[in-house]
Structure formats: structure tokens, C-alpha cells
């Protein structure tokens, strides 16, 4: 079914359409949220908030982009809200202070391969903007242009952030640690 028809049905209150949208996007959005916040509980909360708000706003929904990009933006905004809240609480001044790596629960540890853990732990050490770009590019599959729009900056800046992000990951994950 085309996305447009799905949205039309959703706006008519069709729970089946909502279910389809949820099933199609849930894992991608959860992965994105988890990559950005590095905490499964928080990521699940974000996914929850995004979908409940999305459903709550279905009547007035006006999409100018793809649904995937719209939902990605919602996740990103929620993540930013959380960072802002946390930053305020901790009275952090630096915009680029990376979030501290959060210990994963034993259950998470069982879910994630060791290699992936190293990657996501390294991701958590990137400055927020770089982490966003790397995750949006590689996890969410967004184009640099789309990321630039989300971050309200230019494509070269986004590309630079991506480059520096990947380079920092290279430094954090010394050669061979993933091989």
C-alpha cells in the first residue's frame, strides 16, 4: 500500500494503518534512538512517546517529507529534548559534551554482540552532533542533505561531522578490534 493511502487511512482513524506504520518503522526507530542515547529503557520510552504523539496528532498530520523521515525527525527531537533536560540538570555548559557511556543491563548485554557493544560504546563518546550524523546516515539511512535539513546546517558541515565522527570512531576502535 502506498504511503499516501496509509496516511489517509490513518487520518480517518484506521488502527490497522497505524499498526502497519508501527510495524514498518519500529525497529529502525528504536535502533536510531538506542544508538543516540545508548540506553534501552530511554530508547523504548522515546519510541513510545513518538508513536503515541504521532497517533495523537494523526488528525492534523501534514507530511512534507517521507513518513520515515518524519518519524526520524520525531525521534531526533525527543532525543534532543532528553539531552537538553539532562544538560540542564547537570548544569553543563558545553554543547558538545558527550553523554557518559551508560552501563548496559545484563539483558542488553545478552542482546548485543560484543562487537556491537564496542561500536555503540564508542558512538556514545562522540559529540552529540557527530553521533547524530553518523547514526542518521548509517542506521537511519538518511542522505546528507536530509540530515543537513534536520540539523539546520549545510551539507558540507554535515559531511565534516560525519567524517570527524568516523575518524574518532577509528581512533576509539583501534584497527583490528572489529576484525
Amino acid at each position: 500500500m502506498s504511503e499516501r493511502r496509509l496516511i489517509r487511512r490513518l487520518k480517518q482513524g484506521d488502527t490497522e494503518a497505524l499498526r502497519e506504520i508501527y510495524l514498518a518503522h519500529k525497529d529502525g526507530l528504536l535502533t536510531l534512538a538506542y544508538s543516540l542515547v545508548h540506553d534501552m529503557n530511554t530508547a523504548e520510552d522515546i519510541l513510545h512517546d513518538v508513536f503515541v504523539s504521532f497517533a495523537g496528532a494523526a488528525g492534523e498530520l501534514k507530511l512534507h517529507t517521507s513518513l520515515r523521515q518524519y518519524l526520524t525527525t520525531c525521534v531526533l527531537n525527543r532525543v534532543r529534548d532528553r539531552f537538553r533536560r539532562r544538560k540542564t540538570r547537570a548544569e553543563r555548559e558545553e554543547a558538545n559534551v558527550p553523554s557518559e557511556p551508560i552501563c548496559t543491563t545484563p539483558e542488553d548485554a545478552a542482546v548485543l554482540a560484543e562487537q556491537t557493544q564496542r561500536l555503540t560504546a564508542a558512538l556514545a563518546q562522540l559529540p552529540v552532533e557527530q553521533r547524530e550524523v553518523v547514526t542518521l546516515r548509517l542506521n537511519a539511512g538518511l542522505r546528507f542533505k536530509e540530515i543537513a535539513r534536520l540539523q539546520e546546517t549545510s551539507v558540507p558541515t554535515v559531511q565534516a561531522r560525519y567524517r570527524y565522527g568516523i575518524e574518532k570512531l577509528r581512533a576509539l576502535l583501534p584497527g583490528g578490534s572489529l576484525e
Binding site: G13, G56, I166
Partner: protein
């Protein structure tokens, strides 16, 4: 795979999934939110949020129920204990939102909340009866929740109710909560089953200690010689289409078992063993093309794994040798964390069999499992200079200790400036010693600061290769490199990068559109301008917008390969936006074939096939011997088909998808023979290999097939029946390599007698680039067949190493032209390539380099040109018999040592040029062996030339004309030169940079129009030249028909005007028809390059139309002759004056180089004349023969002319 790429791939693969509890929680609340947002419009599908599905799903569900019933019976018999504590979700359910005031909906919501609360209570109390009741009577969401709770508890009493509901489920079977609950309960039952030991089955339980069900893959890995089990061998399985990689290791009994894979499919298996030989991915074994001689087990292979199907794979591995590296600092203290890597010396790109190992706390690193070979062992540590050393491992089990003492080195400060005068800010500069090949270099290459300064750290003095990298999407790209001597004499390294700075970079963006369908795969977009500046990007499947960044201004050609079809878009200017690239997708075609026995015509039911150029075989097991291939390319599909008991067959499936091609396989042919020496004594232990060159299957060449036994006898049992002639190579350490073309009998065994000759010896001294004898230098000997710079080919005839005095000697070289390499022509200085004609039974002397020198100074407008490479050879860009390199110093001075006698050209490398185009001729020199020459100051002027187009009248189009400059040579070997500057308007003239003095052809062309040719000359020292080329108007046409008396394809014709200014190539259609338009009035001739006489002459009036009929019998009218001219010493003499004479007619060679001179003229007897200063002139009668009349020997071996000194 680079580290960066690896990170990207891993991140892309990374995925977390929601739990059902989370899904339920979110959707329940989202539904409520949706109802509130769209009041009165909400309609809930049957079964809450699961969907109705087709009837097949019911059958699946019924199957689950049957299985559940069976398990239930088993469960009752085994009296279970399933008192596992209930796993709770990761988080507590969120409180239900406040219900609103809308009557009916609120009641349902309240009921849902109540039921949920009840289920939680019942779950906590393990109230199975209550939960089963909820299964029967609850709301759909509550039923699902109850089923989940029951699954978590794992009580089999719930199975009947769950089975019934699972059967009634009408949604997606993957979502069936009742089937999922049954699965969880049965899993739990199996987990708690008592493990009854069975004496007969004991080995199986050893293989699979962790699971009661059979694994998908298991086996043992043992030592090939001792049969001992191998512990700790890592077995990796990666899905062929990408995805999760599974890894298991063998235990102390050599056993491994992979329990399950998520998806059925083809998996690539790779083994990694600490002490035994396995293969790196790039070394994936390529089976011998025709001869199935398994050298060893395939340690990497594709396996088809399916759930529930147990595959057993045993492997035997051979013990390898080991390098025990100790890494110390200059104080003798161990260095930990240094990357130690072993690459094959013979591999150009520095690849090795194993991954790098890090030195441990005591500075030790053990690289085991290495095949016997020669290695370059390199050590890289961020805080020390790079180090490396070669080591030869001769036998398995050998442990070779090496101690590396890492130096701190010095830091060198530099400034990098781009060609536009701006600093190369943001780029990176990497310095590696010139001998460095390893891909595992030191991390942290040096970033150029905003002001252009950079620091190279930990440098040990010597020649280094500096590589400049620009950041690109997801990594960096090397754009330029140069060799410099570090540290620089002035202290500061002034690096002029012949590329525009990042500030000058532009992009091309746009969209790719597909006509006639969608393209379901990702693809790459490559852009390249005339001077080789390139950019590329990759579009994932479904993505159509692209941006090519980091380009310089200019005109680009964009290339996209889709389904094997190359789509080229020319004349695209950078910068530009909104470009639309339209690609027509070819339809998927089905090619069908049937494989039968050629004699009985009965189907061959088991066989495998592989497409040309691919490595993977596709196995077929079909009672009719039928198979099909689906491809988007309409070209004929070329396949190799292989079946046991038959010879390989290369079959071509025609482009007609409705035809079923019958491929008949025949028994393989056999070759039997005796190898003897010149005295007729049989030679034992001689190896027999297949031909040189690439097989039609595009596989590697020259595989060893067999060895001669007592009596010199050998048998090659399965020569493929697809060709009459087969080339074989015979080698023996005491004889010269022999290459024989053998004509095979139509069937059965072909007998052959092979004579191995002793050959000749070559000896001499190797000198370095500064004229000193070079000890411990490797010298490689390669024959002329399939000459290539590829390192693997260099030692085809042998390899020797010089002694402490630079002396070498090699025996048993065949009496044919041999190319002699010292090191790598791409990176070393001095004489790196020369050639020699050994003489049977004699020793000839060949010094590589020498103590005499040729000096000069490279200047540009009075300034020395420093750090620039110079080259001496006959014609840059063509493979030939001699190459020597030098590097100018800070004063522009350069020295070549030991250039042999011959007429060659001196070139300098223009900054910014690539490949052959970067070499610009300075002067031609008659070099004399043993004589010092000072060439004085040589002006390295990079001149520019302007070509202006004038149009004879207004009807001619002014855009889309292409202009190129070619070096003027009489032969057809001219190459394009110059770098075309970016033009903004079609009216702007064409300006070419980076030209040296010389004569050039200016070629102006446009699609559909004849090309206009003119001449341009740049005098020595001239910095600018210009020419105006007038495009003549004309609307005359010549059309016609080529009538051929043979079945061959129509030949391409060349139309040329009488004055040579206008020319055009045209290929007649299949019916022989052709038409050429836009021609001005004049006299023209139509010809073909392989025919001496013109095929037709036409006089065309203004605006006229002439028709010609060309009858041609396409028999080659040419005779051919190849000549090799050598001095008394057997060294090829570069470019003497050489020509043919016959009845007042002089024939110049079509090709004249230092390793061959070729003539093409009418067949017959001629007088060959050779003249070179200091040598006696030669005049000799020779015969030019047609292709058909020449013997194989004449085609393969040139006529040798020896020139004696006066």
C-alpha cells in the same frame, strides 16, 4: 576491507528490535490516542491489531497445533517440571492514560485495563486455569497478553487451549501469539527433558554438547599430516548477501558445531587458525581452470545452510611456518601495541595471508600459519618510525625469530600549498618509506592546518613517499603522491601539491531516473574529467538523488554501470545542479539450457556451471539436466560447465530467451608425453603447467598440472575438448623454461615429445640509483609472453639475489628476450627494468645500472625544479624493455647512473599528471655505455596551447565540439596530451595546459560530424602556442553498401579527404549499409587499415550525394615481420634507424621500440636495413609473410639482428 569501511558496515548492520510487550504497550496507547485524535472515525480491525490473512496461514497454524499435541503427549509421558520463574519485561507497563468521556469506547478501554491487571495478578500467582479462561473470554489484546504470560510460565496444561486458538488465528503467522506461546512452552519442556545417554550416540553428543537438536553445521578440523585434531580454529560463516556473522571455534577434539542460523541461505565459510595455513579472503582459491588437481582442501567455501538440515564439513589444514617478532625500543625495552604484519614480497599491494598481530606486554608478536614464501614483515606503532624487514620461510613448522628495534625518528615540519596558491587545509599527508608496501600503516596521518603547515612525525632519514589524502564521504581518497628525500636540506619541507585547494572544490548533483522499470539494486556513480580528477558516490537501492562532491571545475564524464551495461553521460560541467541522468533498464531475460552427454544425448543430471568472470560455481541436480539463468544483459551468456567424467565445456547461451540450448559434454582429451633433454635423456621431476595468459574463464594463469615421472613421462588426463591447440609450459631447475603449443587429436590421447634445453646464463652487477653496487637486491626475470608489470609475473623465468658485491648470476634462461626487473618500477629509482637475449650454452653479461652517469639540471624560468621524478625510456606510457628513474634535488640536479647504449627520450613528471600523461619529453639522447654525459640545464616548461574554433558558416552548431591534442607520431601509437581547462561557454577557446615542446595533432570532433585534423607546433622554450581551426561547412553525403564475399562482420571503414584534414570512421550495419553526412565538397577515399589500396574514391560536389558500392573480399593483404635488434652483448639496442627497401620503395616500421620493431606491408621479399652510430650497418633480405603463412615459431619469436661495434 578498510577499518573505516568496517566500522560503517558494522554500524549499518546494527539493529535492535522491540519486544512484543513493548509493541503491545505502545500500540494500545497509540490506538487510544488515535481514537481521541480522530473521534468517531476509529475502526478496529478484527482480532484487535492483527490482520486477516489467506487460507495458507490457517494450515500453518494447524500444523503448529499438531506439533503442540505431539509435544503435549511427550510432555505427559516425561512428567515435566516447569517451575521456571517468570521473566519480567524490561520495564513495568506504563499506566493507561486517563479515559475520556466518550461512552462505549471508554468501557472497552476500562475493560482492557481491568483484564490486564487481572492477567498480571494471575501470572504472578501462576494461575494457569485463570489465564486459560482469559484466553477464551478476554478481549483480543487480553488474549494475547494471557498467551504471552502462559508462554513465559511454560506450563503444558495451557497447550490444548493455545493450540485451538493458534489454529483459529487468521493473522500473519509470524505474529501468531498463541503459536509463539506454544513454541516457548515446548522449548521449555525440551530444556527440562532428562538427557538420556546412549552409548551408540556418544560421539554425536560430544559434537553437540549444548543442544538436544542437531546443529545446522558441524565437523572436525585436523592436521593434514598428523591427523591430530586442531583446537581453537575459528570457523566463521557470513551470509553471502551480508548480515550477521556466525563464529564458532573448535574444541580440544577439533570439533565445532554451529547450532542454528537465523535465515536459510548460502553462507561463506572461512577458517582462521593460529598455527595452520588458512587463506585470507582475497586469496580465495581459484580452482584450476581445466585441471582438477586439488592442491589442498578449500578452506573457504560457500555452504547452503537450512534450518533443520544438518551439514557436516570436515577440514584438514597444513601446518604453517611462524614469525616470532620481538619489538624493542632503542633502549632495549619492549614495545607493546605495535602492529606486526607479514605481507608477501611478491604482492604489489602488500597483502599477506594473515591479519596483523599486536605485540604484547613483553613486545612479542607471533604470526603463525604462514605458507612457505618470502615475506616483508612490517612494524607500525604510533610513537615510533615505521620498520620492516624481509624474511624467507622455507618449511612448515619453521619458527623465525626477528627483533625489531624501533627508532623514534625525527619530526619534520612542512608547508603544503595547492596549485591555486592556497594552503591545503584539512587534507592529510602521510609519509611512508619508499620500500613500505603494507596496508597496515601507522594510524594518525598528519592533518594540514589552516595555514598549510603540517608535521610528519617519527621519520627516519631516507626516501619517502608522501601521499596526500582528501577527506571524502566516509573516508579519504589519495589524490597525489610524490617521492622526497627526508629530511629536506632546507629544514622546511615545501610541498607544492598540483591540485586545487579545497576552497576551489565544486559539486555535481542531480537525479537518476529509470525508464522501463525499477532497478532493485544499489549502484555507483563515477565522474572523471579529462585530466583524471574523479569523484564517485554510491546510491542505495531506491535512492535516486546524487551529489558528487570534491570536484574541481571542469567538464566531466559520468559513468554508471547498471546490470552490466555501461551508461556514459558526457560533457557534464562542474559545478552544476539538477542534472537528470536517464537510464534505460534492460529487461530481465531468461536463458535456458540442457546439459547432455555429447555421444548418447542422455541428460547429465549433476553438474555445475559458472559464468565467465565469476568465481562461484552453481551446482545443478536436475533429472533433465536443465538449468536457467536470469540476467538483465541481452548479451550471450558465457558459461563453463563441469561434470564428473567429462571435460570442461565453455558454452555460450544465445541472446534468444525462447531457445533451450543443448550443451553436449564429451569425455576429456588426454595428453601423454615424454620430456627429455637435448641428449635424449628423460627428465624426471619436470613440472607441466597450462598456458600463460587469461583463460576464457578469466581465471589465473600458469597453474601447475603435473610432474614428469621416471622415464620423463607425464599424463594430463583431462584436457578440455573445447580447443584444438593448447599451450603448455615445461619447467625443470636444470633446464630452460619451455613453452609448447600442442595440437590435440580430436579424441583420445595425444602423444607429445618435449625437449628441454639447457638455455643460457646471465650474470652481472646491479647498481643502485647512485651508481654503487647494490648488495642483497632481488632481480626478477620475466619472458615476453604476456609482459606485465604485475609482480606475480616478474619472476616467471626466475629470481636471484645479488651478493655482498652486487653480483648476480642466473642459469638456464631460454634463448629469447628476457625482461629483467630490479624491484618495483613504480617506486624505485635507478635502472629498474632492462632486457637481455640469453644465448644457449653461453653466459652473457648484463649489468643493471652502472658507475657512469648522465647528469643535468631541471629548470623552469630560471628556477630549479626540485623533488621531481625523471624517466628515461623510448616512449613513455608503453611497456618496453628499459626504464630508469631519477629524482631532482633541491637545486634541480639529477643523475642517472649506468644508462646503456641506445636512443631514448628523457621525460619529467609534470605535477598533477596521472599515468602516462604525466610524462613530458625534455629531449632525445643517444646514450653511450660507459660515457659520462652532462645534459646541462633542461627547461621544464609546461607550455599552454589555445585552440580556437572558427565556423565556416552559421548553419554549423557551435556547441558540443570536442578538441584533443595528440602527439604526432608516424605510427598509430600517438597519445593524447595536455590538460584541458574548464570552459564556461561554448564560444570560449579550448586551452590546454601542461604541454612540452613538440608537434601535435589537433583533432576537432563532434558526434555525427567528420573530424577535422590540424597541426600545432610548440618550439623549445615557447610557453604559449595558438591555432585557429576552421570547421568547414558542408551538407554533402556519401552513402553506400559494403558487399562482402565472406561471412565475416563488415569491417569499419575510414573516410579521409585528399588533404588529410577531414576524416571519419564508420562501421557499416549488419547489411553492409553506411552513410556519412555533413561533408564539404572535395575528393575522398574510403579505406581500411588492413588493406593497402583504397576501397573507393569519391568526388563530392557541394551539397551533393554520392553512392558507392564496395565489394571486398576481407582477406588480409598484409605481410608481417617482427625484428629484435641487439648488440653483441645481447642487450636490445633502442631505436636504431631501421627500414625496409624494395624496388625504390621504403617501408618504415609501424612500431619501433627497444624490445621490438614491427613491419606491415605487402607480402614479399624486402631488404632490411639497420643503422646506428658506432655499429656496423646491417642489410639483409627478409620475407614479409601473411598471417596465414607464418608458422607459430615465426609469430612467437622475432627475427634477431645482432649489431657489431665498429
Amino acid at each position: 576491507m578498510t577499518h573505516t569501511h568496517h566500522i560503517e558496515v558494522e554500524l549499518k548492520r546494527f539493529r535492535v528490535t522491540t519486544t512484543i510487550t513493548l509493541d503491545r504497550r505502545i500500540l494500545d496507547e497509540a490506538f487510544v490516542a488515535l481514537e481521541q485524535a480522530t473521534p468517531g472515525r476509529t475502526h478496529v480491525a478484527a482480532g484487535c491489531w492483527y490482520q486477516s490473512g489467506p487460507g495458507r496461514l490457517v494450515r500453518v497454524a494447524a500444523g503448529v497445533a499438531v506439533a503442540a499435541a505431539v509435544v503435549l503427549v511427550a510432555f505427559v509421558l516425561l512428567s515435566p517440571s516447569a517451575d521456571e520463574p517468570t521473566k519480567t519485561g524490561r520495564r513495568q507497563p506504563r499506566p493507561t492514560p486517563e479515559p475520556n468521556a466518550t461512552g462505549g469506547v471508554v468501557t472497552a478501554e476500562q475493560r482492557l485495563a481491568r483484564e490486564r491487571s487481572e492477567i498480571e495478578t494471575m501470572s504472578a500467582a501462576r494461575n494457569i486455569g485463570g489465564l486459560v479462561t482469559m484466553l477464551e473470554t478476554g478481549l483480543p489484546a487480553s488474549r494475547r497478553l494471557a498467551a504471552e504470560s502462559l508462554g513465559q510460565i511454560g506450563d503444558a496444561r495451557a497447550l490444548p487451549a493455545l493450540s485451538r486458538l493458534a489454529e483459529q488465528w487468521e493473522g500473519d503467522p509470524a505474529d501468531n501469539p498463541f503459536a509463539q506461546a506454544i513454541e516457548r512452552i515446548t522449548d521449555r519442556i525440551q530444556d527440562t527433558e532428562p538427557n538420556v545417554p546412549d552409548a551408540n550416540e556418544a560421539p554425536v553428543s560430544q559434537i553437540i554438547p549444548q543442544a538436544a537438536t542437531a546443529p545446522v553445521l558441524s565437523g572436525t578440523i585436523t592436521d593434514i599430516d598428523s591427523g591430530e585434531p586442531l583446537d581453537g580454529v575459528l570457523v566463521s560463516l557470513s551470509p553471502s548477501g551480508g548480515g550477521r556473522v556466525y563464529e564458532v571455534a573448535t574444541d580440544s577434539k577439533g570439533l565445532y558445531a554451529l547450532e542454528a542460523v537465523d535465515n536459510d541461505g548460502v553462507y561463506n565459510l572461512t577458517l582462521t587458525a593460529p598455527k595452520h595455513i588458512t587463506q585470507a579472503e582475497w586469496e580465495q582459491p581459484q580452482e584450476t581452470f581445466h585441471f582438477r588437481r586439488a592442491v589442498w582442501e578449500r578452506p573457504r567455501e560457500a555452504l547452503h545452510l537450512r534450518k533443520g538440515k544438518h551439514v557436516i564439513k570436515d577440514y584438514t589444514l597444513a601446518l604453517g611456518a611462524e614469525i616470532l617478532a620481538t619489538v624493542l625500543n632503542e633502549a632495549g625495552q619492549p614495545i607493546s601495541g605495535a602492529n606486526v604484519y607479514a605481507s608477501y614480497v611478491a604482492d604489489d599491494t602488500g597483502r599477506g595471508p594473515k591479519r596483523p598481530i599486536r605485540s604484547d606486554a613483553i613486545g612479542m608478536a607471533s604470526l603463525g600459519g604462514l605458507p612457505a614464501d618470502e615475506y616483508m614483515v612490517t612494524v607500525a606503532h604510533p610513537d615510533y618510525a615505521l620498520a620492516g624487514r624481509t624474511v624467507t620461510l622455507a618449511r612448515p613448522g619453521q619458527a623465525e625469530p626477528i627483533v625489531f628495534v624501533l627508532e623514534k625518528g625525527i619530526d619534520i615540519i612542512g608547508a603544503a600549498t595547492c596549485s591555486d596558491g592556497l594552503p591545503a587545509a584539512g587534507w592529510r599527508i602521510k609519509a611512508e618509506p619508499e620500500w613500505w608496501r603494507s596496508p597496515h600503516s601507522r594510524a594518525g596521518d598528519d592533518l594540514v592546518a589552516e595555514d598549510g603547515t603540517f608535521i610528519l612525525t617519527h621519520i627516519v632519514p631516507g626516501i619517502h613517499r608522501l601521499s596526500v589524502y582528501v577527506p571524502v564521504e566516509g573516508g579519504s581518497r589519495r589524490i597525489w603522491s610524490t617521492d622526497v628525500s627526508l629530511p629536506p636540506e632546507t629544514g622546511l619541507l615545501d610541498l607544492r601539491i598540483p591540485k586545487k585547494s579545497p576552497h576551489s572544490h565544486v559539486s555535481i548533483s542531480g537525479t537518476v531516473t529509470f525508464t522501463e522499470g525499477e532497478y532493485e539494486e544499489g549502484f555507483r556513480i563515477d565522474a572523471r574529467n579529462e585530466v583524471g580528477w574523479s569523484g564517485s558516490t554510491y546510491l542505495d537501492a531506491g535512492q535516486t538523488e546524487f551529489v558528487l562532491t570534491d570536484l574541481v571545475s571542469g567538464v566531466y564524464t559520468i559513468e554508471i554501470v547498471i546490470a552490466g551495461e555501461r551508461n556514459e553521460f558526457t560533457n557534464i560541467q562542474a559545478p552544476s545542479e539538477g542534472i537528470v541522468l536517464e537510464i534505460t533498464i534492460p529487461r530481465a531475460l531468461r536463458f535456458q539450457a540442457k546439459v547432455v552427454d555429447a555421444q548418447t544425448h542422455l541428460p547429465i543430471t549433476r553438474f555445475r556451471h559458472r559464468r565467465a568472470g565469476e568465481l562461484d560455481w552453481c551446482n545443478v541436480d536436475d533429472p533433465e539436466g536443465a538449468f536457467q539463468i536470469i540476467t538483465r544483459s541481452s548479451d550471450a551468456v558465457k558459461l563453463t560447465i563441469r561434470a564428473d567424467g567429462y571435460g570442461d565445456r565453455i558454452a555460450e547461451l544465445p541472446g534468444d530467451p525462447n531457445t533451450v540450448t543443448i550443451v553436449g559434454l564429451s569425455a576429456p582429451l588426454a595428453l601423454s608425453g615424454i620430456v627429455a633433454d637435448e641428449a635424449g635423456h628423460p627428465v624426471e621431476g619436470a613440472t607441466v603447467s597450462y598456458r600463460y595468459g587469461h583463460s576464457p574463464d578469466q581465471l589465473s594463469e600458469d597453474k601447475e598440472i603435473t610432474t614428469t615421472h621416471a622415464g620423463g613421462r607425464f599424463v594430463v588426463a583431462d584436457v578440455p575438448p573445447d580447443s584444438t591447440y593448447h599451450w603448455f609450459v615445461f619447467r625443470h631447475p636444470d633446464h630452460a623454461r619451455t613453452l609448447r603449443c600442442i595440437e590435440m587429436a580430436a579424441e583420445g590421447v595425444t602423444e607429445a615429445q618435449i625437449v628441454l634445453r639447457k638455455g643460457g646464463a646471465v650474470e652481472g652487477i646491479v647498481y643502485d640509483w647512485q651508481g654503487s653496487p647494490l648488495p642483497e637486491a632481488d632481480v626478477y626475470f620475466m619472458d615476453e609472453k604476456s609482459f606485465s608489470y604485475w609482480a606475480q609475473n616478474r619472476a616467471r623465468l626466475g629470481k636471484v639475489t645479488t651478493d655482498a658485491f652486487g653480483y648476480y648470476r642466473i642459469e638456464h634462461l631460454p634463448a629469447e628476450l628476457c625482461y629483467v626487473f630490479r624491484g618495483d618500477p613504480d617506486t624505485e629509482l635507478g635502472v629498474v627494468l632492462t632486457s637481455i637475449l640469453p644465448r644457449a650454452g653461453q653466459t652473457v653479461r648484463l649489468d643493471i645500472g652502472g658507475p657512469w652517469k648522465t647528469t643535468g639540471r631541471l629548470m623552469c624560468k630560471g628556477e630549479p625544479v626540485a623533488n621531481t621524478k625523471l624517466l628515461v625510456m623510448v616512449q613513455a606510457g608503453l611497456a618496453q624493455g628499459f626504464e630508469a628513474y631519477a629524482l631532482s634535488d633541491l637545486l634541480g640536479q639529477f643523475s642517472f647512473y649506468g644508462l646503456p647504449t641506445g636512443r631514448r627520450a628523457l621525460y619529467w613528471a609534470v605535477p598533477g599528471g596521472r599515468g602516462a600523461k604525466r610524462w613530458f619529453a625534455l629531449t632525445n639522447v643517444d646514450f653511450q655505455r660507459g660515457v659520462d654525459v652532462d645534459l646541462g640545464d633542461l627547461e621544464a616548461v609546461a607550455a599552454e596551447a589555445t585552440v580556437e574554433l572558427l565556423f565556416a558558416d552559421e548553419t554549423l552548431p557551435v556547441d558540443r565540439w570536442d578538441v584533443s591534442l595528440c602527439e604526432r607520431y608516424e605510427s598509430s601509437l600517438s597519445r593524447q596530451v595536455g590538460q584541458l581547462r574548464f570552459r564556461r561557454e561554448p564560444s570560449e577557446p579550448f586551452v590546454f595546459d601542461a604541454l612540452s615542446a613538440g608537434q601535435y595533432d589537433v583533432v576537432v570532433s563532434r558526434e555525427g560530424y567528420p573530424a577535422i585534423r590540424d597541426r600545432l607546433e610548440i618550439a623549445p622554450g615557447q610557453s604559449h602556442a595558438g591555432i585557429a581551426v576552421t570547421i568547414p561547412s558542408g551538407d554533402g553525403r556519401i552513402s553506400g553498401q559494403v558487399v562482402s564475399r565472406s561471412d565475416s562482420e563488415p569491417w569499419p571503414l575510414t573516410l579521409e579527404s585528399a588533404d588529410g584534414r577531414i576524416e571519419m570512421s564508420v562501421t557499416p550495419g549488419a547489411d553492409g549499409a553506411f552513410e556519412i553526412g555533413h561533408l564539404p565538397a572535395g575528393d575522398y577515399r574510403l579505406s581500411h587499415s588492413r588493406l593497402d589500396s583504397a576501397l573507393a574514391r569519391v568526388r563530392l560536389a557541394a551539397g551533393g550525394h554520392e553512392t558507392v558500392r564496395i565489394e571486398v573480399n576481407p582477406v588480409d593483404e598484409h605481410g608481417y615481420l617482427n625484428v629484435l635488434i641487439v648488440t653483441d652483448e645481447g642487450v636490445p639496442l633502442a631505436t636504431p634507424d631501421v627500414w625496409l627497401e624494395r624496388a625504390e620503395r621504403v617501408v618504415e616500421p609501424v612500431y619501433s621500440n627497444d624490445d621490438a620493431t614491427a613491419f606491415t606491408a605487402a607480402p614479399g621479399t624486402y631488404t632490411l636495413c639497420v643503422h646506428y652510430p658506432g655499429f656496423r650497418s646491417v642489410r639483409r633480405n627478409v620475407e614479409l609473410k601473411t598471417r596465414e603463412a607464418r608458422t607459430t615459431q615465426e609469430i612467437l619469436e622475432p627475427m634477431v639482428i645482432t649489431m657489431s661495434r665498429e
